[in-house]
Symmetry: C2
Subunit: 359 residues, 2 copies
């Protein structure tokens, strides 16, 4: 146990160092183009410094469970590529969701907006912030790819197929998510839960949990059976994780989650929690949800009303029950994985923290 914790810590440190060196090199390149362009890399660097590195860690244990050597360069690079991809996704997500904060600091488009305001530049501050953040996200996406491509040969082509699939699926899932925000109210209430479940599968569970674990396994040359076992564990785990995230997004403590209360409701996220609410609430409550969700000007009283509808409709309890069922499925599959006990325990610890966290 202690040695897996130390090993994981060493891996995380190695990923951080690789990212730091990579971005320092990119900083030199950009500074050569223009000192003004350096800010692009700085904002990426500060973003990848934070975060839980959950995807990189899952990837690592997927690698180790399939017989990959501790601390090998391939897996460090794969982990760094996943972290850069996640940073890129966050930068663009925050524009799409109009989130002002990220990992305790201002989101990237807000950083550029502040730069604009601070220097007294011309034209529209917000527009500049969005444009600069679109470009920063694109750059970060390219960096992720560059890092992944540097892994080299061996089993990299099987891992590459998963990396490709992961990217396509998460972007499609993100699209379905924003589509649901605008088209959800026009679609049948009876299928709201199913639609929300599809979104979290592609946008979150496969992307943040299943693919990283399977990618690590594939990189180490795992058998198809082991990879299927990884999926049977990580997919329900990822779904449970996202359901937990949705609950925290509405009922969590802002001091712990780092996101202002009501942010998810103002964004109009049509989560499984919302789907269950819509499916079970009475006519008046449903009407209230449909007309208030996604409004930027929600008052504290509106937020309280929405929360109360979610509780009394049984949607909160229902979501917690789904989390419990998915967790059971995940941990049952984990127990059957033909991997080293210490590695299984490391995955179990990750799983427990994913579904029972408070932030």
């Amino acid at each position: 146990m202690e040695s897996t914790a130390a090993e994981q810590e060493a891996f995380v440190a190695a990923v951080a160092l690789t990212l730091q060196e990579f971005l320092a090199e990119k900083g030199t390149l950009l500074a050569g183009i223009s000192p003004d362009a350096l800010v692009l890399v700085d904002s990426i660097a500060s973003l990848v410094t934070g975060g839980k590195r959950m995807r990189a860690i899952l990837c690592y244990w997927g690698w180790r469970g399939a017989g990959g050597a501790p601390g090998a360069e391939e897996i460090i690079k794969a982990g760094a590529a996943l972290e850069l991809f996640q940073a890129a996704a966050l930068i663009h997500d925050d524009i799409i969701d109009r989130s002002d904060t990220r990992r305790g600091g201002p989101s990237v488009h807000r950083q550029f907006g502040s730069l604009h305001a601070g220097r007294g530049w011309a034209l529209d501050r917000e527009r500049f912030g969005h444009a600069a953040a679109i470009l920063t996200g694109d750059l970060c996406l390219s960096f992720s790819e560059e890092m992944f491509a540097s892994i080299g040969s061996g089993s990299a082509s099987r891992a590459r197929a998963i990396f490709n699939l992961m990217r396509t699926e998460v972007m499609a899932g993100q699209y379905l998510d924003i589509l649901e925000e605008v088209s959800g109210p026009t679609k049948p209430h009876s299928t709201a839960v199913a639609r929300a479940a599809a979104i979290i599968r592609f946008k979150s569970a496969k992307y943040s949990s299943e693919h990283p674990l399977v990618l690590g396994g594939a990189l180490a040359g795992a058998s198809p059976e082991l990879l299927a076992g990884y999926s049977a564990f990580a997919l329900p785990l990822g779904e449970a994780f996202q359901l937990r995230d949705d609950v925290l997004g509405v009922f969590g403590d802002p001091a712990q989650t780092g996101k202002p209360a009501g942010d998810d409701l103002r964004e109009g996220k049509r989560t499984v929690l919302v789907g269950l609410t819509i499916a079970a609430a009475g006519e008046a409550d449903r009407e209230f949800v449909d007309t208030h969700l996604g409004r930027q000007d929600l008052s504290d009283a509106d937020i309280d009303s929405l929360c109360s509808i979610m509780v009394k409709s049984g949607a909160l309890t229902g979501t917690e029950a789904m989390i419990a069922d998915l967790s059971t499925a995940a941990f049952t599959a984990l127990a059957q994985l033909p991997i080293d006990g210490a590695i299984s325990e490391a995955l179990s610890a990750l799983g427990r923290s994913a579904v029972s966290r408070t932030s």
Copy 2:
């Protein structure tokens, strides 16, 4: 001559077919996630159907000049990857520049805006359009990368280094471009031309001309000397091309360019043409340019005034002189390239059309 034209046509057709097959496969994948997600691939497919395929063609002749075989799979994939990258860049550029049209049709964010309006969806139409287009561009960027990574081994790692550099440089150049729009008026008039020249170098000339040609050469295993010769031809050519573009963006015929008159002026593009104007115009004219450039509400009379200032300041003539000088440098370098005469002639034809075009 006739055979190079036929060969180039066959290459362009092969790139188109490869793109079509690749996107059909992605369409199947996305439809499996949700039929609603198919629109993402459809909008990419319609975008890559058009265009002059200039980058792919330059890449092809770079490959052929370095001894690459006609119609080889590697170069077709490299060409397709460049086309996908360009499509991704256009999708995000059009959001940044707020362009309503692209290649004769609505830009991608406008397509999604229309979808929103047509279906009577909730919340903000424009916001949905931008969000969906950010995701479509990200998906297209990933597709580009996936296509490039499928080239395989051989000289692919040298080409990969160029592909990586190309992406970083173009994104940095795009950032410098939007930065100049907002910060240009606060910076010295005397350096406006130099700043604009740096932007076109990284945003356009290296990206659209030098890197594609060099990438093709590197993929075929060209010597460093040949690659340096390619650069000596393609960099000034690309600069001349962009200067021509800037002139057409202000003085071109909208019916031929496909862009509404004054679009570049409303966007506030700080081109070399604008830099020369600012450096040479009288105080009152300069003041007029600084206060009008980048205003969305420019009237036809404002546009006429801006054009007239550009003419009488000598900026238009100055830009044409720069185009002539750069062309001379490019064609002198081309004449010295140790490549087959027919290939040299093909590059020459491309060069001529790039600098003397009307659309």
